[in-house]
């Protein structure tokens, strides 16, 4: 995926006057980059006996790994689940616009759709490196159609499916080729789910539990079979009950395979999850929390009425409702807003809040060696933030890809 040059001749860039997130702490260190990767300056000094070719003063800002959004249904008027004439352009538009939110990699998400849509759309969303054109595409997140009828939420009932006949073959028949797929959300109470989970995991696809009425026992078996993620915790699942905590109970389950961390997505827009619920989850299992936007096409459209497909949507600040009603129709909080809200609601450290949007999604996808951190050798995808965690600039492979407008004179 990475085609950056690692030639020793590539210029060395030193980002100075900053605090970098490394090893779970904000360190007062310079960030060195070469050939699109984070460089070890001590090695450069003693082995290659070289200094930086260019220094950039970061004005005392925080440098965090670029944010990774593993659940985005669309944005800026684009709906990823729609088989438009040019799916690629829609992806590209969103990929470019989310750079302003500090997102450097994402998983375009398709909601429950008929097989024709998957067959048409999936091949048009290849895995792609990020750059000045936009955030990188890590693979598609398929949310549905193998989910619970009762907990389908806004997913269209007509297209829900089960795989009880042919298990994995049903999955393949529905989706078509799985080359571009990274995450699949399914309900583990569906018959033969363990076969499907095992088969998907064997293909390197992350299986997530969501839109489900599974009890804790069923959820635990699913994790033992390979599931590693929970899709938007609390939403579209049974509520926590003290005698059967359901999927939520996975956060403190003692039945998980040893050494395995269960990750869970949370929409921290201040609307879809009560801050107290956010705090309970975070305190129970801080290492597994993954911030997601679960953004819908209304993201980024600004206040007012918008027509999105068959829907009329009214946007007011961070709230998107079906026009003329108070019915929420999806999240429209950008990732950096979610991070700030998460920080404020949980009172966690800045480092924790940043890791929830970078390191944890990278770990979920097994990419932590190259993404989600500023360790030596990792891809130089990072965000420059001020002390209030507002994005000042975004870098991919060490190149500036977005910058905040300077305040006027």
């Amino acid at each position: 995926m990475r085609r950056g040059q690692r030639a020793a001749g590539a210029p060395v860039r030193q980002f100075t006057n900053c605090r970098i997130l490394r090893g779970g702490t904000l360190l007062r260190e310079d960030l060195w980059v070469r050939g699109g990767r984070i460089l070890d300056p001590e090695k450069l000094f003693f082995e290659e006996r070289r200094m930086a070719d260019e220094q950039r003063d970061c004005g005392g800002c925080i440098l965090a790994p670029g944010f990774i959004d593993v659940q985005m249904n669309g944005g800026f008027g684009v709906d990823f689940s729609k088989a438009t004439k040019d799916v690629g352009s829609g992806i590209a538009l969103v990929a470019q616009r989310i750079l302003a939110h500090g997102v450097t990699s994402f998983c375009p998400t398709l909601v429950t759709s008929p097989p024709e849509i998957y067959h048409k759309v999936l091949p048009q969303i290849p895995v792609k490196s990020g750059g000045p054109h936009g955030a990188g595409v890590l693979g598609v997140h398929l949310e549905g159609p193998f989910i619970s009828r009762e907990k389908r939420g806004a997913h269209p009932e007509a297209y829900l499916r089960s795989f009880e006949d042919n298990a994995f073959h049903d999955v393949l028949a529905t989706y078509g080729a799985l080359d571009n797929v990274r995450i699949v959300t399914l309900a583990p109470e569906l018959n033969r789910s363990h076969e499907v989970i095992q088969a998907l995991t064997a293909q390197g696809i992350c299986v997530s539990l969501g839109h489900s009425v599974a009890d804790l026992g069923t959820a635990e078996v699913a994790v033992q079979n390979g599931a590693t993620f929970i899709t938007h915790l609390f939403n579209a699942m049974l509520p926590f009950h003290h005698r059967d905590p359901g999927i939520v109970g996975l956060l403190t389950s003692d039945q998980l395979p040893p050494g395995h961390c269960i990750f869970y997505g949370m929409i921290a827009d201040g609307i879809h999850t009560n801050p107290a619920a956010l705090r309970i989850a975070h305190r129970a299992h801080p290492q597994g929390l993954v911030l997601v936007t679960d953004a819908v096409p209304a993201l980024g459209l600004g206040n007012g009425r918008h027509t999105l497909g068959q829907q009329e949507v009214e946007v007011n600040g961070l709230i998107a409702c079906i026009a003329g009603t108070k019915t929420l129709c999806g999240s429209i909080a950008p990732m950096d807003v979610c991070i700030r809200h998460f920080l404020q609601a949980t009172g966690c450290s800045v480092e924790s809040a940043l890791e929830a949007a970078s390191l944890h999604p990278a770990q979920l996808l097994g990419l932590e060696k190259t993404k989600g951190s500023l360790d030596f050798g990792a891809d130089a995808d990072f965000v420059v933030l001020d002390d209030t965690l507002h994005v000042q600039a975004t870098y991919i492979s060490g190149e500036l890809v977005w910058k905040a407008e300077e305040a006027g004179p």
Binding site: D30, P41, E42, K43, L44, F45, F46, E48, R49, R50, M51
Partner: protein
């Protein structure tokens, strides 16, 4: 010998840093004229390094035309081990200033042929025209660099086995586990440091007081190798009050009085805003 006594560690560090800064600035280093500086490691010079970095950052001092030669390095410790002297120098000094990596010389404790590495180091010092100012520290057993008690006072850069005192003193940097502490090191010799045109020894803390006493009030003795500098034409010992605790009141009073002369000397080379 000059003995400069400051009230506390911070003032001693600042004095030493100003002295080094003034030496470099007065020398007027340039493309064909490098200033050669010998450097120590350990906890004593940390304050001094911090001040030097401050002077660089405020634009008063540049290391662009300075060559540095460190005193020693452990044998067998990976270069990027957090306790190696390469790591120490990178984290506490080199990464903060504008020194050219080609001019920062540290012995390689992982060289294939350790004695050849030592000989090459001596050769590099020779090629640099000798050392203008060698800054050093003193161990509790009176050693300079790793010239442990019993080292020849005319020794050159070589491989040394570390004394038990030193290994015990270093254990705190290796999780208190004696088995993890290196037992050998490459070190400049007493003779190597004696060759420098000027020597500055930093000594702070009560735990160094006895060693300072042995070094300057007793005779020259290979059991207290720092005592060799009694025979160097230009040596300064910079210390804090605590380090003088084992000295005679007479010695301390004498040197405190003669400090004025050094201050006047320094005033001729004022560095702006320093």
């Amino acid at each position: 010998m000059r003995l400069v006594i400051l009230d506390n560690y911070d003032l001693a560090s600042e004095w030493a840093a100003k002295y080094i800064c003034n030496c470099i600035v007065k020398f007027k280093p340039g493309q064909d004229r490098y200033f050669s500086l010998g450097l120590p490691t350990g906890s004593t010079p940390l304050g001094c390094y911090k001040k030097l970095i401050e002077y660089y950052k405020s634009g008063n001092l540049s290391f662009k035309y300075v060559k540095t030669f460190n005193m020693d390095e452990y044998v067998g410790l990976p270069r990027n081990h957090p306790e190696s002297y390469h790591s120490y120098m990178w984290n506490n000094f080199f990464k903060h200033v504008d020194i050219d990596p080609n001019n920062a010389h540290i012995l390689d404790g992982n060289a294939e042929d350790l004695q050849a590495e030592c000989d090459a180091f001596e050769q590099k010092i020779k090629e640099a025209g000798g050392i203008d100012l060698f800054v050093g520290g003193i161990g509790p057993d009176g050693h300079i660099a790793f010239n442990e008690p019993g080292s020849s006072l005319v020794s050159r850069t070589r491989l040394k086995t570390l004394a038990m005192d030193t290994i015990l003193a270093n254990a705190k940097y290796f999780d208190g586990d004696l088995s993890k502490v290196p037992t050998m090191a490459l070190t400049v010799g007493v003779g190597t440091v004696m060759d420098a045109r000027e020597v500055m020894i930093l000594i702070t803390g009560a735990h160094k007081a006895f060693a300072l006493y042995k070094a300057i009030e007793e005779g020259i003795n290979h059991m207290w190798t720092v005592s060799a500098f009694q025979q160097h034409p230009r040596t300064i010992f910079v210390c804090d009050e605590d380090a003088t605790l084992e000295l005679k009141v007479k010695t301390v009073k004498y040197f405190k009085a003669s400090c004025f002369l050094i201050m006047i000397e320094l005033m001729h080379v004022q560095v702006h805003n320093v």
